[in-house]
Every structure is written in C-alpha cells, then in structure tokens.
Symmetry: C2
Subunit: 386 residues, 2 copies
C-alpha cells in the first residue's frame, strides 16, 4: 500500500451566531484527501479528514510544513508490518523537526491529517473506525451507541429567552434529551432567565449544561457559579481562561456543581497540566479534549493514559466538536459521550444522514472508515476533491 | 494616517545545522510590509515585520484570518488620539473573534504583524523603537547598550569538540564574551567534553550557557544537571518539555545551577503558569520569552507585569530569537540582554550592519523604527516587497 497523492482544500462552514467570545461568521476549515494505490470496487481507496471547529487557515501549515515530510519519506516507512498505512508512523514523520511546546494551529493541522490517515487505514481493513479502535484498544468491545447532547443556545438577537426555548424544543423533537446553552454574553440576571427557560423545556436541570467559553475572571466565574448552584445542572463549562488552572481549582474547591473544560487545550502536555493543577474532580467533572484540534489520535491516546494514571475514567471525556471522528473515538474507546451541533457548523456538524438521535443516543454506521461519505452535504464537497 | 496596503511574503532562512531536537533545513519565515499614506523624504512610510525562528508557514493565518480584520476595520479605529497608527488597537482588531487558549502558530502570526505595526509607528514619530518604548514605559530611560551572547554550538558532524572550540574562538574574535552551546544530542560524556572545551576557550564557566532544547525526561535532566553542577555555568536551558512545569520545579529544588526556559511558551497565560508552577527562582533563573513568537508587544507587556507581581526583575529576561525587535525591547524596556545568532538564521540573525559587539555588548542604531533597513542582506529582500 502506498500514498499516491494528497490534496488539501478549504471548506466553508455555516455560522451558528455568536457565543460569549466569538462570532463565527466567515469560518472555514481545512480538508484533506489522501489517495492510495489500493483499489476496492474499481475505485482507489481514499482517506478524508478535516480540522475541527475554531482554528482555521491551517492549509499553509499542511502544504508547506507537514505534508512535504510525508511525501518525501520512503514509502515503506509509512507502513506497519501488515504493509498498510500506519497512522502512527506517518504522524511521527510529519512531526519530525518540530519544536516542543506552543500547541496551537499546528495541533489542528495534525488533527486534520490524522483523521484522513485513520479513515484510510480503516477503509484498507474494511472496518468502521470505531470497530478498528475497539479491536486495537478495548479487546473488541465497542459501545453500540453514544450519548450526545445538542450544543446550541447561541446569542442570536433580542428575544433570547423565547427563541432559546423554541430552539431547545426543536432539539427534543429531533430526539435529544440534553442540551447546552451559552452564558456570559448577557447580564447574569438575563442568563439565569435563559437557564430557567431551558430547564423548563428540558424538564430537568440535569439535562442542561452551560458554557461561558472562557470569558470570566475569577470574581465573575464565582458569581455565576454560585447563582447556577441553585440548579442541579449537568455542568458549568469553561468559566475562565482555559489555561488559568488556578481559577479552575478555586471553582472546584468552592462549588459542588460539575465543571467542564478542555476543548482549548490542544495537547497531552497541556492536558497533563490541567490534571496536575486545576483541581478537577474525577467523580463529577467533564473533560472535552477534541482530537481534531489536538494532534489526532496518537496524542489523544497519551491523554487517555494520563487520565487513567490520575484516577479518571474515560467516561469523563465528552469531546468538543460534534464531528464523526470524535463519535468513532467515543464508541470505540468507551468515552462518556459526544457533543453534537444540530443544524450549525455545516457540513461538519452532525453525523451520517441515516443516523437518528433516539433517547439522546446515536448508533454508528457500519461503513468502513470514519463515515464521512454517509453525510451527503459533506460528501458533495469531498468527492469533488480528487 | 492610514494603512494603504499590506503585503505578506515568505522569506527563506539559512540553516544552522541541528540541535538536540530539530534540523532547521528548509526553514522560512513570514515577512509583512505595511504601507501607510504618510510620506517622508518623498517616500511612503512603511512598517516591516517578520516572524521569529521555528514556527513557520503562518502566511495563511495572516492572509486569511488576521489581516482581513484589519483591512475591514474603519480607518479611524486603528488610530490613537494623536491620529497615528495604534499597535494596540490594531492588535485587538486582528484578534477579534479568536478563541482563548491554544497558543501556537497564531502567536507567531501576531508577532509578525505587531513588529510591522511598531516599526510603522516608530517611523511615524521619527524615533528608533527602543527610544519610543523607553519614553512610554521607562520615563525615557533607555539602556545605551545591551548584553548579547553568541548562540551556536550546534551539532555539525563528527569532530564536534575541535570544531566547537574553533566556532567559539570565532565568536570571541567578533567581540562576544559569552556563548551558548547545544547539549543532549550526544552522550553525556561527550557533551561534558564539549562543555569543557567551550569553557576552556571562553576562559570562564560563567561565560557559557548550555541548551538541551526540551529533550530530556526527568531522570536525564537530573543526570545532566548534576554533572553540569561541577562548573559554575551561566545557565542550563530547557532541560525538559517546556510545558512540564513539575520537571522544572524538581530541577529548581535539586540544583543550584541557574535554569533558563520560556522560548516555547507563546503567551502571557503560559508564562503565568510557568511563574506559578515551575518553581523558578527570581534570584538566578532566566526567562526567554520571544515577542516574535508570542503575540508581540501587547501580550509581552502583560508578561512583564506578571514578572513584577511575582517578584522578578525584567533583567531576568533574555529573549530568544536574536532579532532586532527583541534588541529594541531589551534596550527600551530594560531587559537583561538578548540572544544573538552570529552567522546563522540569516538574514534575520544578527543586528544592523554597522553594529559591532564590544566586550559582549551592542549599541543600538538611531534610525527610526526597528532598524531592519540597516541590515543590508535583509533590506535587499524587504525593499522588493512593495
């Protein structure tokens, strides 16, 4: 097996509106297609991958820095003993001569590449990725379905409480039983009204998570935390700067409310610091590392090992990003669940076309690879790449 | 004053060989030219900036993500009350809608942009940047000269001890009195021979720093640290992963040898974690944050404030990168010194053509701006940009 060519393009993504920090208008992501010399049903096997949400324009990094190392490497160095593309070998070759530290856009470029490599590998074996991962890392035991929650509740205009309730009702009509809404871009009193409206629709505070997107200083984070503690919410996400581990530790010491963070930590080195310094509680807190933003599976597996060492279950992990790669990881590696963006960040958000949310869970398709071909709006773009 | 156009290009950089982690062959950096409508001596005033060493291919980030926000902003929002380009206002506009955390290549793109903005601003005021900074932040008190050391001692072949001694003799002939060499890519016994050869040429252990480039695990870092403790070295740099604050803290607790790190921490948020968790000692240790890798001056000033809060002097800061922007910061803000790369990383490494190293110190030119026009090899490239 060998790589015949690699094509990189920018894919525009639909904007969901704004959260407390970011307006997503004009967002894109990088998409890769890796064509191999293996042929199945008369067509070459191709691996596809994309970068996760929020750190775009990494195409230059891929084209100028990471892909040339792969294409310059002798073909046999990219294979394992089965003669198939080895995503780990490719990862290490792509990362040769990179300096340590400073984990940002580079981690997204590698996440993009890694998804395409695993898609290619799983297709070469004729397996869905979740099954391949379960066989490699969980003695074949895959989860039949994955818990998902609808991430939405962006700020979209004046009538936020009414439109928010309508939006969450829409998610429930789709089969979701849990949702997450944004907080922090309105005054606390307004946000409390939004929270109460959302709980009212969902029927239970435990079905609602809230997300401040890293906006608050310690005083505000504590004020929100105390006000939110009157409800038994599912979690209180990214109250402060994602690297302010001390703020996080003070909140964990002060509040019994579950806390969630991790989507803006892009490496196992950063995750380790979170585990060491942020006082997070393995019995209740939630970790949201996104492989598509953080170097892909090779570094994600290191993070999962760190979790074990620090007394955490992989079930505490609910990846950010709402994409099919994380869904495969959730089912194959036994994570706690997966974020889901119904209707936003299209065509990346959401899962394969035929997949329905039932009682807040989704099943995974049996098609080989990550399953991107089964999402028709995304496939229309991907199939034009080669 | 307003911005008429911004041009971005890639600039190839000469390779110095290899350190313990990285072979720099094929390195480039991004260069920006910002043309204003102000005219002096019949020519438009232009600000130039480049990214610092090691995290290249950020041109796409600039062209697709950061520069469009600047060019879309109303012209008056980029100015301060004097009607001149305000680098802080421009920085905040360029960073609008960016998510917190994950400080990597984005920080280099902003460092590039920020250098060009300060070059433009200083030229608009007709001041060298070091003087402008001293007037704004140090009541006009600038350092007349800056301590520099020759960073070299890369691994370049078999005869490393002999060629290393020759290399350091060459630095002393240029006027340097201190040097830094790489360790960690050879066995400890070989590296000790390299260290002794370098001390022998320099005449004093206190004139020699050693740099492991983040390569060691804790055991190796301790073994090297104990072996190096027999000499009174200037410092022991980046023994472990730049984000492994606990390793750094164990070394600081175990060794009396001064430690140095920081070039691979690309934000004030990361610098704060270093100050909180790495046990670094304000009475002897050295911090090497590079504005050209870490968002430029707006975030660098935050880091300097954090240092004051944590009991450090700005004299503990010896920026990485050996470029003229850091040299201006060193003289204008009263840092401890600046790295220097004689003969490598050209045309970025080194300072203005007429500047000689005398007794290990350099003076700064009086030309307005950062002074890039005074380095002829760099200026040949820059003047072709517009």
């Amino acid at each position: 097996m060998k790589i015949k060519r690699i094509v990189e393009k920018d894919l525009p993504i639909s904007s969901p509106g704004a959260n407390a920090v970011v307006d997503f208008a004009g967002l894109t992501t990088s998409v890769l297609a890796i064509e191999s010399d293996l042929v199945r049903n008369g067509r070459p096997i191709v691996g596809y991958g994309f970068g996760s949400i929020g750190r775009w324009s990494v195409g230059g990094l891929l084209r100028e820095r990471f892909l040339p190392r792969l294409t310059a490497a002798p073909a046999e160095t990219l294979l394992d003993e089965q003669g198939l593309i080895d995503p780990f070998a490719c990862w290490h070759i792509a990362m040769a001569n990179e300096k340590p530290g400073g984990h940002g856009e580079r981690a997204v470029a590698l996440g993009t590449l890694d998804m395409a490599l695993w898609d290619l590998r799983a297709k070469a074996e004729g397996l869905p990725l979740w099954q391949l991962l379960a066989e490699r890392y969980r003695h074949g035991e895959a989860d039949e379905s994955v818990a998902v929650y609808a991430a939405g509740g962006y700020y979209r205009g004046d009538d936020t409480v009414k439109s928010l309730a309508d939006e969450i009702r829409g998610y429930m009509d789709l089969g979701y039983t849990a949702a997450k809404i944004k907080i922090g871009a309105a005054p606390l009193a307004t946000d409390i009204k939004r929270v109460e409206a959302a709980i009212d629709v969902l029927g239970s505070a435990d079905a609602l998570a809230v997300d401040a997107n890293g906006r608050f200083d310690l005083d505000t984070a504590l004020a929100y935390g105390r006000a939110l503690s009157q409800y038994d919410l599912r979690w209180y996400e990214e109250p402060g700067d994602p690297l302010d581990f001390r703020l996080q530790a003070v909140l964990a010491e002060t509040l019994s409310l579950p806390l969630a963070t991790g989507e803006n930590l892009f490496s196992s080195a950063d995750a380790r610091n979170l585990l060491r310094y942020a006082g997070m509680r393995p019995d209740r807190d939630v970790l949201q590392f996104d492989c598509g933003l953080s170097y892909g599976l090779p570094d994600y597996l290191k993070t999962l090992d760190l979790l074990t060492t620090h007394g955490w279950s992989a079930r505490a992990v609910h990846p950010h990003g709402g994409h099919q790669m994380s869904l495969n990881l959730a089912a194959g590696l036994g994570l706690g669940g997966n974020e889901s963006y119904p209707g936003v960040f299209q065509p990346l958000g959401g899962f394969a076309d035929g997949i329905r949310v039932e009682s807040g869970r989704v099943r995974l398709p049996d098609a080989p690879g990550v399953g991107l071909e089964l999402k028709s709006e995304l496939w229309r773009f991907l199939r034009e790449m080669l």
